[in-house]
């Protein structure tokens, strides 16, 4: 005898079956029936202050835990408020399931109150989306949605459910077997291609392992490291791939691209083989594509066939899961090295080490001058030993965090890479901390980025999600200002925030957080210690930072990676 449930109860039951422990959301008219059985469920609900926050929290949760993050909101404006986080998760391949209420089916298309064409609006920003029209479909669609979000190239999936279905009843049934004839992601790579890749790697003189966020998503960091060691490959990690190999590893060269290290960017540029795994030749990595790594052949491993040869023609394409293909590559490489000597590539490594010595990341902290943003990042790393999940907003502070925080483990770096969504930090940190409550979760944020989603600090305080936000306040939209300084004759149009910035300490206190401030370099370490000692509420620390600091190295937009600028002295 199967149980009779309402659609609302069936939805909650289906989420429980998926192992969902937290839903980030906000109720409203169309989703209202679902919030009633939620009271009886072990699923924790985190009540956000804006639906965009729910989406980014689900993303932060997914980043930190590797599991699917869930956001649930009502119809109309709530659903449209989710669009930015969905596109964000789509571009960074983050597994998220969004559930939206819809007006009753009899009202669809009638411009009913809080009606929006959620299916149509969300189709281009999701991996897949659904509008359920039969209450009986709820268990199977939820099963499919989680399967699609988490497998293959992960991504966001939206399920839109009209209100009338929530109050209809159905005979509960466990979801049936997944039947998606058009969806069969490859797992293993083609053995011949794997062998060809091993041959090509062995023959290369100046190879670089180009590791992207796909490594993190595939939980394959351990195998990436092993492969780098077996094949003796210097390794760059993209913005989304930071932590795929420990930054302290002798083979790690750091981040390449527009604001990458000189060594990572230049090694790719001069290489004769790019062993690309879970990366997508993003324009922030390649610079001017025609001038990118002109002498390099390309091995491209990706679970998404559409990424291969999208930007750069691959000589050896391998479609498959990063972890599975890495296992094949390690096995084939070890077998190969049984009979042939491993190439030493001394010249290549000498060149690389020479670059590292000559062109390290550098900034100057004058003890009597303003606080340098990089200094705050390095001090927190020193004090915590780097043992934290680090989140960033979007802008200069994000690049500095990627550059200066030494990442030693995967899933400890959470940021908005592809879409570059300002305001990502606070909600993503809330999601990460909710999913990984035993870990220290710190976010570096800019004063501009902070003000886009700061109301989620109320959520954090109310829910006891004790994140620590470091506001690197330079009182400017710093990255835009940097471009105006370099490319617009220092004409600062609409980037000065100094006149209108709030008092961040008072603001923090008003939102139920502890508010702290450091104005001089010698105050940085003590205030960080203090912030780390407060564990009964979220903490916001404002650092009054250098308003003129710029992110270097830098490849000017549209320029070749050969024309990398190391510092202001190069710009004369």
């Amino acid at each position: 005898m199967s149980e009779t449930l309402t659609g609302a109860q069936a939805l909650i039951r289906a989420l429980e079956h998926e192992g969902v422990d937290i839903v980030f959301g906000m109720p409203g008219g169309a989703i209202l029936p679902v919030y009633d059985p939620l009271l009886d469920s072990p699923i924790r609900h985190v009540l956000v202050r804006h639906e965009q926050g729910a989406g980014h929290m689900a993303s932060g949760y997914a980043h930190a835990t590797g599991r699917v993050g869930v956001a649930m909101v009502t119809s109309g404006p709530a659903a449209t408020n989710l669009i930015t986080p969905l596109q964000d998760a789509f571009m960074d391949s983050i597994p998220v399931v969004a559930i939206t209420g819809q007006v009753a089916q009899t009202n669809i298309g009638l411009d009913a109150f809080q009606e929006a064409h959620t299916w149509g609006i969300s189709a281009p920003v999701t991996k897949h989306n659904y509008l359920i029209t039969d209450v009986e479909d709820i268990p199977d669609v939820i099963r499919e949605a989680f399967h699609l979000a988490a497998t293959g190239r992960p991504g966001p999936v939206l399920v839109d459910i009209p209100k009338d279905l929530f109050v209809e009843t159905m005979a509960w049934h466990r979801p049936g077997e997944i039947n998606l004839p058009g969806y069969k992601p490859s797992v293993k790579g083609h053995p011949k291609q794997v062998q060809a890749a091993v041959d090509m790697i062995h023959a290369a003189n100046r190879p670089v392992l180009y590791a992207g966020g796909g490594i993190i998503r595939a939980n394959a960091a351990d195998r990436l490291r092993r492969f780098a060691e077996v094949a003796n490959l210097p390794t760059v990690t993209t913005l989304m791939g930071r932590g795929a190999i420990p930054d302290s590893h002798p083979l790690a060269l750091g981040m390449p691209g527009m604001h990458g290290t000189y060594t990572a960017t230049t090694a790719m540029q001069k290489s004769d083989l790019l062993v690309t795994i879970g990366a997508r030749f993003d324009d922030r990595v390649t610079g001017k594509v025609d001038a990118f790594a002109p002498g390099a052949k390309v091995i491209h491993v990706d679970v998404d066939p559409a990424e291969i040869s999208k930007v750069r023609q691959a000589d050896i394409p391998i479609v498959g899961d990063a972890g599975a293909v890495l296992e094949q590559l390690i096995f084939a490489m070890e077998h190969f090295l049984d009979t042939k000597p491993a190439p030493e590539r001394k010249d290549w490594f000498d060149t690389i080490h020479n670059w590292q010595e000559k062109y390290p990341l550098a900034y100057d902290q004058d003890p009597d001058g303003p606080i340098q943003q990089q200094y705050v990042i390095q001090e927190l790393h020193r004090i915590t030993g780097g043992d934290a999940i680090v989140v960033a907003g979007v802008g200069q502070h994000q690049m500095w965090t990627s550059q200066y925080w030494g990442f030693e483990r995967p899933n400890t770096w959470i940021n908005s890479g592809g879409l570059g969504t300002m305001g990502y930090a606070i909600p993503a940190a809330v999601g990460a901390k909710a999913g990984a409550p035993d870990q220290l979760v710190v976010a570096f944020d800019g004063d501009g980025s902070f003000q886009m989603t700061m109301q989620e600090l109320v959520t954090a305080a109310a829910e006891g999600i004790n994140i620590k936000i470091m506001v690197l306040n330079n009182s400017w939209l710093g990255m835009v200002k940097q471009w105006q300084k370099l490319f617009y004759n220092e004409r600062y149009s609409a980037t000065d925030l100094s006149g209108g910035n709030p008092d961040f300490v008072m603001l923090a206190e008003a939102m139920g957080c502890a508010g702290l401030r450091a104005e001089k370099p010698d105050e940085v370490a003590p205030v960080l210690e203090k912030a780390l000692a407060i564990n009964d509420r979220p903490v916001v620390v404002e650092f009054k930072c250098d308003p003129d600091a710029m992110v270097f190295p830098m490849v000017p937009a549209g320029g070749s990676n050969d024309d990398l600028v190391l510092g202001p002295e190069d710009l004369a």
Partner: protein, 175 residues
């Protein structure tokens, strides 16, 4: 009409017969700025699947085919090289046909195998199915009489049997 223009691509997509699939496919073309010249959708021998035939203008289709494959409801996507598929289209064409010119119009139509499906006081409506080039030729021939109205089904295509080597284009005998 430019049925043989090489910038026209003929793509067939085997898709799940589910709501929204047509929107997903057409959006994919729109997103890349490609104009859809014609689009025909219909059932297949498998009730779960539909076949879409899309004729689109664009420089190259490799990326769009990969993107179409990424759609969860897409089972198979094929681009047909010129001549590699049987391509057909149906046209209904209403021409001015004063009684004194009817004879010659019907003669011309007969050569193309067009069927008169509606005859009015001063017009005749023809039905013609065939290769896109045949339709274009017939249309050209009828123009001087005055085209009153025209509707086309959009092209449909099915890949030729790769094993059929001899007499593989029997339909040409009527042309």
């Amino acid at each position: 009409m430019r049925p043989n223009n090489i910038t026209q691509h003929v793509i067939t997509a085997l898709v799940e017969d589910k709501p929204g699939v047509l929107a997903r496919v057409s959006t994919m073309f729109a997103r890349r700025g490609f104009n859809i010249h014609s689009l025909a959708v219909g059932p297949t021998s498998d009730p779960r699947l539909s076949r879409m035939t899309v004729v689109a203008d664009g420089p190259e289709m490799e990326q769009i085919i990969k993107q179409l494959y990424k759609l969860v409801n897409t089972v198979k996507v094929t681009e047909h090289a010129p001549g590699a598929a049987v391509e057909r289209e149906i046209m209904l064409l209403r021409v001015n046909a004063e009684p004194k010119r009817r004879g010659e119009i019907l003669d011309a139509a007969g050569i193309f195998g067009a069927k008169a499906v509606d005859v009015g006081k001063v017009t005749i409506t023809f039905e013609l199915s065939g290769e896109p080039a045949q339709l274009a030729d017939f249309l050209e021939l009828m123009k001087p009489y005055g085209i009153v109205d025209l509707v086309k089904s959009g092209r449909i295509a099915l890949a030729r049997d790769p094993k059929a080597k001899n007499g593989r284009r029997p339909e040409l005998r009527t042309a």
